[in-house]
């Protein structure tokens, strides 16, 4: 029954899967941009006592 449903309706999942993949890649890209933020001259700031570096 479940396999029949999947066999008949699998195409419904294509666009949501693509949206999820795009969202994941966007988030990964955001993390890449912010990971080294404290190393840039423009955005560098003194860390609070006990605060970890953003890339750790």
């Amino acid at each position: 029954m479940v396999l029949q449903l999947i066999g008949r309706w699998w195409w419904v999942t294509v666009t949501p899967a693509f949206i999820a993949l795009g969202y994941y890649l966007d988030k990964r890209s955001d993390n890449n941009y912010s990971r080294f933020k404290n190393k840039s001259v423009l955005y560098r700031r003194e860390l609070q006592p006990g605060e970890k570096d953003p890339w750790t």
Binding site: W11, V12, V14, T15, P16, A17, F18, I19, L21, G22, Y23, L25, D26, S29, D30, Y33
Partner: protein, 462 residues
């Protein structure tokens, strides 16, 4: 941005694999969700003066966001408009039509959000392929092949110099980045003025042909007249705006040539706007009239962009968005008449008010917006550009005033000749209009009316 890009890619792939009976419902539902997601993602950043929704090579700013939203908004509307037209075609042809339209929107989203001029160029050229296939395969008459040839050659003629220009830029400055373009001013390089001017012309000619300005416009009426309804809608609403968008991006690189060459080109654009508005009055074909009207409006957009002032650029953006919605609505209305009378000739489309009264109301509203009646955004855009141009040179008031007068004449002529007068004897049996057709026009006008109350959504934040 990758969320939106992958969403539209998903719609394109779904159009290829979905079972036949679910083709239209699934595409309509998915393409209706696309503008909602686009609004959710892009609208919160509309007042941001920097780039946002950053991905590796895609991002948006206050110029590209409204154009991306417009592209996403028009996909479901163009699908709705074509459904009747395609219903008698075999499934495979329907499937390829929908795949082409969704791939066109995908390449448009990439073009408007590209952070790199080379990626922008590739996506800009990629829009040519689906549009060309849609015109030459789904057009109604044999002349569609000639229209396709014109469209192809005008676009390619402009694109090769642009490619050479962008590759030279890349080799000389080691960067084709759009956000860094204001730092990459080519005037600082050691070039003589004539060679810099030649480079400038090579860079803008593709966009001038795409807009198109008067003189490079011959492909447009042919393409519009021969294209199917969705082709005309997307062509008028978004593809012409690619030219305006490219001009804004590329002129940031050339401050020196702009300063000495903008005067003749603005004068030519104003002249072109006047001539095309006069040409509109002598058209007998409904679609050709709307197409020439687009050329006239785009001439104003080009003049606003070349003025390189805040008012000019804001006016150009507002007019691009407003004209995108209105020209698309006009093509929808022309198609509504064509599907009943089977002719686009104005003199054979008389007296439709008596048969389809609600569509007469739509014709009135859309024609009024096309002639830039206050308080529509068309009026705001034209007012900003016109004020800016008059302050540049008071003599332009004469030509711009005449252009406004002729625009009013042909817009009212379009309304009056299609809705008033007695019906011609050739009208035997005309079917009633469908709710879905009225919904389509309503969805064109809704954003336009909402933008009257919140025009800052389509203004530049830089």
């Amino acid at each position: 941005m990758l969320t939106l890009t992958f969403f539209s890619l998903g719609i394109t792939i779904t159009a290829l694999i979905v079972p036949g009976r679910w083709l239209w419902p699934s595409l309509l539902v998915q393409s209706s969700i696309l503008p909602l997601i686009t609004l959710i993602l892009l609208l919160p950043h509309h007042s941001s003066s920097t780039w946002h929704t950053l991905s590796t090579s895609l991002a948006t700013d206050s110029l590209s966001s409204p154009l991306i939203i417009l592209s996403a908004w028009l996909l479901p509307l163009s699908l709705l408009a074509s459904r009747q037209h395609l219903s008698k075609e075999p499934l495979a042809r329907q499937r390829s039509y929908l795949t082409l339209l969704s791939s066109l929107v995908l390449s448009l989203i990439i073009t408007f959000s590209a952070l790199d001029l080379i990626l922008f160029y590739i996506a800009f050229e990629a829009t040519l392929v689906p549009t060309l296939i849609v015109i030459t395969r789904w057009g109604n008459q044999p002349e569609r092949l000639q229209a396709g040839t014109y469209f192809l050659f005008y676009t390619l003629f402009g694109s090769f110099p642009l490619l050479i220009s962008l590759l030279s830029l890349l080799s000389l400055t080691s960067s084709a980045s759009i956000p860094l373009s204001s730092l990459n001013d080519l005037s600082t390089l050691e070039f003589s003025n004539p060679s810099l001017a030649l480079w400038w012309i090579a860079s803008i000619i593709a966009f001038l042909a795409k807009l198109p300005i008067y003189g490079l416009h011959l492909w447009l009426p042919k393409a519009h007249v021969e294209a199917p309804i969705a082709g005309s809608m997307i062509l008028a609403a978004i593809l012409l705006k690619l030219g305006g968008y490219g001009l804004v991006r590329i002129t940031a690189l050339f401050s020196l040539p702009n300063s000495f060459a903008s005067e003749p080109i603005i004068t030519f654009c104003i002249w072109g706007g006047l001539i095309t508005s006069i040409i509109c009055i002598r058209q007998t074909d409904m679609k050709a009239l709307i197409a020439y009207s687009s050329v006239g409006h785009m001439s104003l957009v080009a003049a606003g962009i070349f003025s390189e002032t805040t008012w000019g650029l804001n006016g150009a953006l507002i007019l691009m968005i407003a004209h995108g919605l209105i020209s698309s609505a006009l093509f929808c209305l022309a198609n509504l008449s064509y599907e009943r009378t089977f002719t686009r000739t104005l003199s054979l489309n008389r007296g439709l008010k008596l048969i389809t009264p609600l569509s007469a109301a739509w014709w009135l509203i859309v024609s009024a917006a096309n002639l830039a009646l206050p308080p529509t955004p068309n009026f705001s855009g034209e007012l900003l550009i016109v004020t800016n141009l008059i302050s540049w040179n008071p003599w332009t008031a004469l030509f711009l005033g005449l252009t406004a007068l002729f625009t009013a004449i042909y817009s009212l002529y379009l309304y009056q000749s299609s809705q008033h007068s007695p019906n011609p004897s050739s009208f035997k049996k005309i079917s009633q209009t469908l709710t879905i057709e009225h919904l389509n026009i309503f969805l064109h006008l809704t954003p336009l009316i909402l933008l009257i109350g919140k025009p800052e959504l389509i203004s530049l934040a830089w």
